[in-house]
Every structure is written in structure tokens, then in C-alpha cells.
């Protein structure tokens, strides 16, 4: 009996990590089903939405188990999804016991981010700079776009750490980034205000919800797909509202 509960714990931990760090719903369901099937469970059914996981199976002795967990926080960390995928693959092939699997999953859960925070700041600056060149084609605006992208991501992380409100901090970060871009252009540091603002805001694009929403809708997980699409839509709207507020301040004064 201990074993069945351990398998339940392992599957739920793997599913929780995958869902929290940005995997598609289909992949979470598939991983949990495969893991519990390979452990000899029958009548496995898993149901995953964007914010919660249900898993039920029956052991060989006929004992029914069913549990659900709620996933409150969602981050973007695809390297953890890749490592959980690897662990579940090894467990399914019988290379790991359930104790080792749970231990490795807990290690993944407690591990720090794949890249240090300063590298992510730097990358969003570089991404913003390169993207602004792709959009506008003026080489003089690459440096202000770099600074803008840096300011946007730093302020997003700060707002999320202190305010802990998802969409509002995206709104504030978009507002801060575009105000910084406008100020840089007006002090003669850049030329095209459009290009600098686009470069400053592009690190905020909700890439993971957008892609996952399409994927979920296609594989028939309609609840999760629509929910992810709504998340991406509200994120985009709050970014757009941040830009609109800063531009209106600019046009009034």
C-alpha cells in the first residue's frame, strides 16, 4: 500500500513541476499517465487544467486512489520542464526506482533557476536591442533599446517581488519601460521613439501562454486552452494599457 501512495506522490510532483514551469497541459497529462502505467497501475485517468491537477488510478490489489493538487504560481522556466521530462522518461523505462524519482524531482524543485538573474536581465536587453533593429533598421537606436529592455525586465522582477500581483506588475513594467524609452529619445539619446519602445517592451511578450494555448486547443484540452489564451490576452492587454498610459501622458504634456 505504501508503494501506491509513493507512486501517486511521484506522479503528482512531476506533474506539478511541469505545469508550474510552463509545460503544455497535454504533456503533463501524458507524463503522469505514462509514469503510473509503467508502475503497474490500472485505469489511470488524469485531468489537468491550467491551475490544477487531478490524478486517479487503481492498484493491482484493487485499491482506488484519487488526489488533486492546486497549482497557484506559474513561472517560465523551460529547463526544469526538460529535466522533469528526462526523469519521467528514465522512470518509464525502468532505470529509476520510485524513491530515486521522487528524490530527483525534489532536487529539481529546490534547484535555483538555470541562469542567474543578471544574465536574464542582460539577455532581455540584448533581445530588445536586436529586435528593435529587426523592426526598424536604424543602428543608432540599438543602445537605447538595450537600456529600455533592461529597465523593463528589472522593473518587472522588482514589481513582482514586492507587489505580487501578476497583471498589474506587467502593466507597471510596460509603463516604466515605455516612459524610460520616451525620456531617452527626448533627451537626444535615440532617434525613433517607436523603435526604442518596441525594443524595450518585447521581453514582456507572453510567449509561453500563447504557444501553449494553441497546442492545448489542438490536442482537445479545451478548458486549459481557452484559459491559457485568456491569460495571454490579459497579459497583452495590460502591456498595451501600460504603453497607452505613458503615450497619453506624453501627448498631454
Amino acid at each position: 500500500m505504501e508503494k501506491a501512495e509513493q507512486i501517486m506522490e511521484g506522479c503528482l510532483l512531476g506533474g506539478k513541476l511541469m505545469l508550474r514551469y510552463g509545460a503544455e497541459t497535454y504533456r503533463v497529462e501524458d507524463t503522469m499517465t505514462r509514469m503510473s502505467r509503467s508502475a503497474g497501475m490500472q485505469e489511470v485517468s488524469s485531468f489537468v487544467t491550467t491551475t490544477g491537477i487531478f490524478l486517479a488510478f487503481r492498484t493491482k490489489e484493487g485499491q482506488e486512489l484519487m488526489q488533486m493538487i492546486r497549482v497557484r504560481e506559474r513561472f517560465q522556466d523551460l529547463s526544469k520542464v526538460t529535466s522533469v521530462n528526462q526523469v519521467s522518461r528514465e522512470f518509464t523505462h525502468g532505470e529509476l526506482t520510485i524513491e530515486e524519482t521522487i528524490q530527483r524531482l525534489k532536487d529539481i524543485e529546490h534547484a535555483p533557476m538555470n541562469y542567474p538573474l543578471w544574465l536574464i536581465y542582460l539577455a532581455s536587453g540584448i533581445g530588445g536591442a536586436a529586435f528593435s533593429y529587426l523592426m526598424g533598421g536604424s543602428a543608432f537606436d540599438v543602445l537605447p533599446a538595450f537600456i529600455g529592455g533592461l529597465i523593463t525586465t528589472v522593473s518587472l522582477v522588482l514589481y513582482q517581488a514586492y507587489l505580487k500581483v501578476k497583471f498589474f506588475s506587467e502593466f507597471l513594467a510596460a509603463f516604466t519601460g515605455s516612459i524610460a524609452a520616451v525620456l531617452m529619445v527626448y533627451s537626444g539619446f535615440g532617434i525613433n521613439v517607436d523603435q526604442v519602445i518596441i525594443g524595450a517592451l518585447i521581453p514582456l511578450v507572453p510567449g509561453i501562454p500563447l504557444t501553449n494555448s494553441v497546442r492545448d486547443l489542438m490536442s482537445g484540452d479545451l478548458v486549459a486552452g481557452v484559459a491559457r489564451g485568456a491569460e495571454a490576452g490579459v497579459s497583452s492587454l495590460s502591456i498595451a494599457a501600460g504603453v497607452a498610459v505613458s503615450l497619453s501622458i506624453l501627448y498631454i504634456t
Partner: protein, 147 residues
């Protein structure tokens, strides 16, 4: 053109780091993003509309991502997400907001429709590539033909 491709490679790698993709996979994402941008920026020279070019580029990016994901045995999102980032209609979305702020609703609606169409085209490209790779294992619909 070469400069643009190099910038696109750098941008895609930077986005890979923003999304915390492992370092051994980031370079592949950069190559996919570069290919997508090459298709997206060169098809309009042959008279294709930019919406159609976005769909074709997203299809190519997603197709390559699925192939690579099979090959490297990792989740496919590690490649698709940075791969389609260069196609995101950031410039049009910004112009839409600018037009609405300036109370130029007519242009704003036009640009907004263009933005939505391009986003839809990217989604369509993703869906096509996904459909090719899930032939035979998708979900059933409408008629039960197998009994």
C-alpha cells in the same frame, strides 16, 4: 540582410535565455528563429502578403522544432517558443496603440485587424505543423468510424 539574420540569431538566443531554456538547446532555437525570419522577410519580395509569409514562417519554425524535438528527445516547446518570437507583430501592435491614443480610430482599427491577422497566421502555422506530427494519434470528432 546578413546583418538582420545575425541580429535575429542573437535575439532568438536572448529570448531562449529569458525563457530559461538549457544552454545546450539555445543554439538550435537560434537557428530556427533565423530560418523563420529569413522566410518571413524574403517572401514579400515575391509578392506574398506579410500575413501569408508569417504563416509560412511559423509553419517552417514549428516543423523544424518538432523534428529537432524528436531527435533530441526534449519537449517541443523549448524550440517553438523562441522560434516564433521574431514573428510576433510587435511593431504593428505598437502602432495600433499609438493610433488609438491619438484618437485616430479608423487607422487604429485597420492596424488592429492586421495585428490580429498576423497573430492568427502564426497560430495557423503552428497548428499545421502540429497536425502533420500528430497524424494517427489525435482526438476523434463527430463520427465514430472505427467500430
Amino acid at each position: 540582410m546578413w546583418l538582420e539574420l545575425i541580429f535575429c540569431f542573437i535575439a532568438t538566443i536572448a529570448f531562449g535565455i529569458i525563457f530559461n531554456i538549457p544552454l545546450r538547446l539555445v543554439w538550435w532555437g537560434g537557428l530556427i528563429g533565423m530560418t523563420a525570419w529569413f522566410i518571413y522577410s524574403s517572401l514579400p519580395y515575391f509578392g506574398w502578403s506579410s500575413v501569408f509569409a508569417a504563416a509560412a514562417a511559423a509553419f517552417t519554425a514549428a516543423f523544424l522544432s518538432h523534428l529537432l524535438a524528436r531527435f533530441r528527445r526534449v519537449p517541443v516547446t523549448t524550440f517553438t517558443i523562441p522560434g516564433i518570437i521574431p514573428l510576433v507583430p510587435g511593431g504593428r501592435a505598437y502602432s495600433t496603440m499609438l493610433a488609438f491614443v491619438e484618437e485616430d480610430y479608423y487607422n487604429g482599427l485597420q492596424l488592429g485587424v492586421e495585428t490580429v491577422l498576423q497573430a492568427g497566421a502564426i497560430a495557423a502555422g503552428l497548428v499545421f505543423a502540429l497536425s502533420i506530427f500528430s497524424i494517427g494519434k489525435g482526438v476523434g470528432q463527430r463520427y465514430e468510424t472505427n467500430r
